[in-house]
């Protein structure tokens, strides 16, 4: 059961107003950013962070809101990226034309994964999706069969261990020349904003409520008429579309995609983002991205201890703040509100934070 009190019947609840205010501030910041940041490196890292935030928000939709612990998130992302790259590489399509078909391919792939997981719960889903992602990685890396000859070089169908490169870009280089990175930043920022808006709509819609109900108490939700199969496939499909689309944009932005995105550490980074930010909170993935990318940059100084630090951050944040930073912030706001003994302690953050389900499991 979530803590969401029945949203006030007034035209716009307080939480929605706060969310809107946060979004407006963020949009203003996003527009101001390219004028404030000169360094190419920093802007490049910000673009990368936006990709992470997009993937994390979709994983959060899957795990945080629907309770499906899928470890195939990066596989879906890679599928989108590979599909886009392969459309361009083999058929000579323009990148922009290939993006949506690539994302739809990722949706299809995700639906197959979802079908395989349909009758499973909890850890079984995690194990199966992990196995699927690893199989995909292994099959790509060990692919040595010649598919086409490019010049005198043999190319594998999946690009093998090297992957694909130079299949086209977003066209910003030709259009903006030296400022192409700003153009790419704008495109990816819009992608992220669209993803968040769509996710918000889903989470607040009856479908989103059905997802949450299935997470909190599957038996009760099914008894009340929620179709579990339908809802589970739907969430797999929806989250895959934006993940796959992000994959396509990722491939186009870096003009390359390889099996590296399927590595365990990438997946862990996404999970860490959501866990640190706050599982099942709308702003959690964004907060987690900011914190972890910053931490990652700081740890870059200490070079080799990066992965070690990341692992410890994940473990510690689960132990110390099971509801993530957003959840902790919500606790704080709640506590302050209670201290003031205001009758309405309903704040934006606590509204989307979930208290542990009291029953079920």
């Amino acid at each position: 059961m979530t803590e969401t009190r029945p949203m006030s019947r007034s035209s716009m609840s307080r939480s929605a107003k706060t969310d809107l205010a946060i979004s407006l501030v963020l949009i203003a910041a996003a527009i101001a950013l390219p004028f404030m940041v000169d360094s190419r490196y920093i802007l490049g890292q910000i673009v990368l962070a936006l990709f992470y935030a997009t993937i994390a928000s979709q994983w959060n939709l899957l795990f945080g809101f629907s309770g499906i612990f899928s470890l195939a998130q990066m596989a879906i992302f890679a599928f989108g990226g590979y599909a886009t790259a392969m459309f361009c590489f083999y058929f000579g399509w323009n990148v922009w034309a290939a993006l949506v078909p690539g994302a739809l391919g990722a949706v299809l792939f995700s639906l197959v994964v979802g079908l395989a997981c349909l009758r499973l719960t909890g850890v079984y889903v995690a194990l199966l999706t992990l196995a699927i992602a690893q199989t995909m990685y292994l099959l790509i890396v060990t692919d040595t069969e010649c598919f086409v000859m490019v010049g005198s070089v043999c190319r594998q169908f999946t690009g093998g261990a090297v992957g694909f490169a130079r299949f086209g870009d977003l066209g910003t280089r030709a259009l903006l020349r030296a400022q192409w990175l700003v153009g790419n930043y704008a495109i990816i920022a819009v992608l992220f904003a669209l993803t968040m808006v769509f996710t918000y709509a889903i989470v607040k819609s009856p479908i989103g409520l059905a997802f949450r109900a299935l997470k909190d108490n599957p038996g009760y939700a099914v008894a009340r008429g929620v179709n579990r199969f339908q809802a589970q496939l739907l969430v797999f499909g929806i989250s895959a579309f934006f993940t796959g689309l992000a994959g396509g944009f990722y491939a186009a932005h870096f003009q390359a995609i390889g099996p590296g995105v399927l590595s365990m550490s990438q997946l862990m980074f996404i999970i860490a983002i959501v866990v640190v930010g706050g599982v099942g909170t709308f702003w959690g993935p964004l907060v987690g991205t900011v914190v972890l990318v910053l931490a990652d940059e700081l740890m870059r100084e200490s070079g080799e201890f990066r992965t070690l630090g990341l692992g410890l951050i994940i473990a510690l944040s689960v132990v110390l703040m099971p509801k993530g930073l957003v959840g902790r912030f919500g606790d704080l706001v709640h506590w302050l509100a209670r201290r003031r003994a205001s009758p309405d302690s309903n704040t934006a953050v606590s509204n989307i934070v979930q208290s542990p389900a009291p029953a079920g499991k």
Partner: protein, 295 residues
């Protein structure tokens, strides 16, 4: 033809024995505490490296290397309990399953990376190996594989005796059946959890030594056996020990046949297809108890 068949069988049984050891370690923890230990792979690796250090760097006999691996695994399990599991158990029960999985993922990465930083990334040779082959009529069996199978069988017997005959084992089984009832009957459930994690860590340590003696020591050593152990757990149904052993042997034999027939890269995907087929047919595994959930 018989030579090839024999080679496949030997390879299949050897890897099956190794997978069985890894699977039992995972399944034990799942069965008694409902915890999926994602750090199991790193504990495997830890065991391999500790044995290497004890034997090569300290120059001690091989038996002490094994002992070192067992102790290191058990200590890692105990640390895991005190640092993570105990704290997570204090929270709401319904969040434990997912939280502990994420936390152990973090511990696993940190441990693997710590090993990488300590020993470096280059592969090392595990000194626990026996050269030569054993002839039995027309059959040629490498001593190495026989040793592995023997050690695994001994470990299985030890585990089943520990679970079946000792007071500790009875407490573990009681907790696995019904945690609340066991607690009400006076079983110190928290101590059982500690014991199970240490036992599983010790098994992982030995398994790591054996796996590295077949290949080489490298920091991601444990990942491949653990991934396969996951699959076997799913096929058998998590928490069922005899089922886990049977599934491990069966799937390892299948894997080595497929690898021979279709090439090495199809070994793992074929396992995955089996899993999906099994899960569609029986969602809680071949031998897993169908869970009855009370609302």
């Amino acid at each position: 033809m018989t030579d090839v068949l024999m080679a496949i069988l030997v390879a299949g049984f050897t890897s099956g024995a190794l997978y069985a050891l890894a699977t039992v370690g995972l399944s034990l923890v799942w069965g008694s505490m409902g915890m999926l230990n994602m750090a199991h792979a790193a504990m495997l690796t830890l065991g391999g490296y500790v044995a290497f250090t004890v034997i090569t760097s300290l120059g001690l006999p091989i038996a002490l290397g094994f002992a070192g691996a067992i102790v290191a695994g058990a200590v890692a399990g105990a640390i895991l309990y005190f640092a993570i599991v105990r704290n997570l158990l204090k929270n709401d029960k319904s969040t434990f399953e997912a939280n502990v999985m994420i936390a152990t993922v973090g511990i696993g990465i940190a441990l693997e990376n710590a090993i990488l930083l300590t020993y470096g990334g280059q592969p090392l040779k595990q000194p626990v190996s026996i050269a030569g082959t054993f002839r039995l009529g027309p059959l040629t069996l490498p001593w190495q594989n026989l040793m592995i199978i023997a050690v695994v069988v001994v470990m299985m017997v030890v585990v089943s005796l520990a679970l079946g005959r000792t007071r500790m084992g009875r407490a573990i089984r009681a907790t696995a059946q019904n945690r609340d009832a066991a607690q009400l009957m006076g079983v110190a459930v928290n101590r059982v959890y500690l014991q199970v994690l240490m036992l599983s860590g010790a098994l992982a340590g030995i398994c790591g030594v054996m796996v590295s003696s077949m290949t080489q020591l490298s920091p991601p050593l444990g990942n491949d056996p653990m991934l396969k152990a996951f699959i076997m757990c799913v096929v058998a149904g998590l928490g069922n020990l005899p089922g886990a052993v049977a599934a491990a042997l069966g799937l390892a034999l299948l894997e080595s046949f497929v690898q021979y027939a279709l090439g090495a890269r199809w070994g793992f995907p074929s396992l995955l297809f089996v899993v999906i087929a099994v899960l569609i047919w029986r969602p809680s595994g071949l031998f897993g108890r169908a869970e009855i959930r009370r609302m």
